[in-house]
């Protein structure tokens, strides 16, 4: 007994020693800055002797531009995530079937994920260009529109364009995560369903979907967090325009922090975004726990 206690003690010391470097970096880069941002947000201005108050948070509510960026972020998230899920699911189910050139198709699927979002957004900005862009050219040649559309300069159009770019960029990542989930479903389940006379559609809804639910929730969680903090896409694609209709919380807080240099006010914005993301994650995590296998 004495020996076991000693061993546990020694293991604890070594364990912490091994974890320490990572722990320190994570605390320095992630934990401390968030706490610090919260403290900044409780002071009206950046100085030692200003008083603690919730003034910044009160100001947020009456700041129309912040409310709009908040709404834009939510609208962006609530439209892109379901679209990505549907596309991702279709791609994953198709990729799970045996066919020729499956390897090549998988590489093609991985490319959009691997591209830097910032540069990707610039390329798309060119493609959505009113006069020279391939999008307008394509739409005109198939007869969907008659005149060139000012995609990035008109109100709902810019947001729609930004959502489509995001969906294009991330559906494939969703597909990869779902595909890994699909491959854990035993094949004989489908075979016995077939002998019982179930159609493909039926086995999708009664076997695939229920068994895939945990993987779906995990990938929705990852993507929702990403969508709620989207920054480089609006920064490079629309610059938040026209008239701030594509400005997200991240983009507006960046401007307040580094362009208007209002550090304390900007900190209250990032804290609101932080709380929003944490609440959403908790909802997802709770729903994973509620699934019984």
């Amino acid at each position: 007994m004495q020996l076991d206690y000693f061993k546990l003690h020694r293991n604890t010391r070594i364990g912490y020693l091994f974890v320490l470097p990572s722990l320190l970096v994570v605390i320095f880069v992630l934990v401390y800055p968030v706490i610090q941002a919260f403290l900044y947000s409780l002071k009206p201005e950046y100085s030692e002797n200003s008083e603690w108050s919730f003034e910044n948070y009160a100001n947020l509510i009456s700041d129309d531009r912040f409310v709009e960026s908040f709404n834009n972020t939510l609208i962006f998230t609530f439209f892109t995530i379901p679209a990505e899920l549907i596309f991702g699911l279709v791609i994953a189910v198709l990729l799970n079937k045996e066919f020729k050139f499956r390897g090549i198709v998988r590489v093609a699927i991985l490319f959009p994920w691997a591209l830097p979002t910032a540069l990707n957004a610039i390329m798309w900005r060119w493609m959505f260009n009113t006069e020279f862009g391939i999008i307008n050219y394509g739409l005109i040649s198939i007869g969907l529109i008659e005149n060139q559309l000012n995609w990035l300069g008109k109100e709902p159009l810019a947001m729609i364009a930004m959502m489509s770019v995001s969906t294009w960029k991330t559906s494939s990542f969703m597909a990869l995560l779902l595909l890994a989930g699909l491959q854990t479903i035993p094949k004989d389940l489908y075979e016995s369903a077939k002998t019982d006379g179930a159609s493909d559609l039926k086995s999708f809804f009664y076997i695939t979907l229920p068994l895939l639910t945990p993987a779906i929730i995990v990938s929705l969680l990852l993507r929702t967090m990403d969508a709620l903090r989207v920054f480089e896409l609006p920064f490079n694609f629309t610059d938040g325009g026209p008239l701030n209709t594509t400005e997200t919380i991240s983009l507006y807080s960046y401007r307040v922090l580094f362009e208007f240099v209002e550090f304390n006010y900007g900190s209250s914005m990032v804290i609101v975004q932080f709380i929003l993301i944490m609440i959403m994650s908790l909802i997802y995590i709770k729903s994973i726990k509620n699934i019984d296998y």
Binding site: L8, T12, Y16, P21, S141, G181, F258
Partner: protein, 242 residues
Amino acid sequence: MPAKDIYAWPPKLFPSPGTIDNYIKIFNSSPELLRYILNSTIIAVFTTVTIILFGGLAAYALVRIKFRGSFSIMLGMLGVSMFPNIAILPAIFIVFKNLNLINSYPSLIIAHTGLFITMAIWILANYIRTIPFEIEDAAKIDGCGPFDIFWRIILPLSKPGIFATSLIVFIFSWNEFPLSLVLLHDNDMRTAPVGISLYPGEYSFPWETISTATFLSIIPVLIITGIFQKQIIGGLTSGSNK
């Protein structure tokens, strides 16, 4: 892509050949583009090496050394990995400013290490879990200490996992935007995504230079994903089914 193709109507899907000119031109007229790519490479390489060393040690300890609190640390790491990167911007900028590290490589390397290490530990832990206990036990009987076991047995045996994690971390670091934008804002210090996106002036947007530069800076990422897609997919998805 030559300028006449860029402003062509109808737009050309496949630009005409003779585009090497642009690449030569770009390095003569805007040498900073090469500098951006060099900066990105330095940042991504150092971030990856640090993460593999630190993260590998942590992953091994969390999965294999039974110690009090290891489960809570694992959960805590997963929790903080959900922190939005914008939330850390104000404080981390102030800290590095006080340390006089703004516009220096270490600032962004440290920031990227913190940002991506939790994900790396998660992936590495899943690989280390698959290494049979017997090998470790045999080494213990031979008198190997925990660090020896990590260095001589765990690291070599989890090569595929380390490889996959390195590729993913490299790509994440190469592509990261907001922190790179804020911490390295001198023109000489910018990373490729930031430098290229801030390159154009207000009124004349030099599309042919931009598209050439963009293509150059995504080449490393495209090559990596093209050759190692299996490892990357394996690494990316190893955590989602646990």
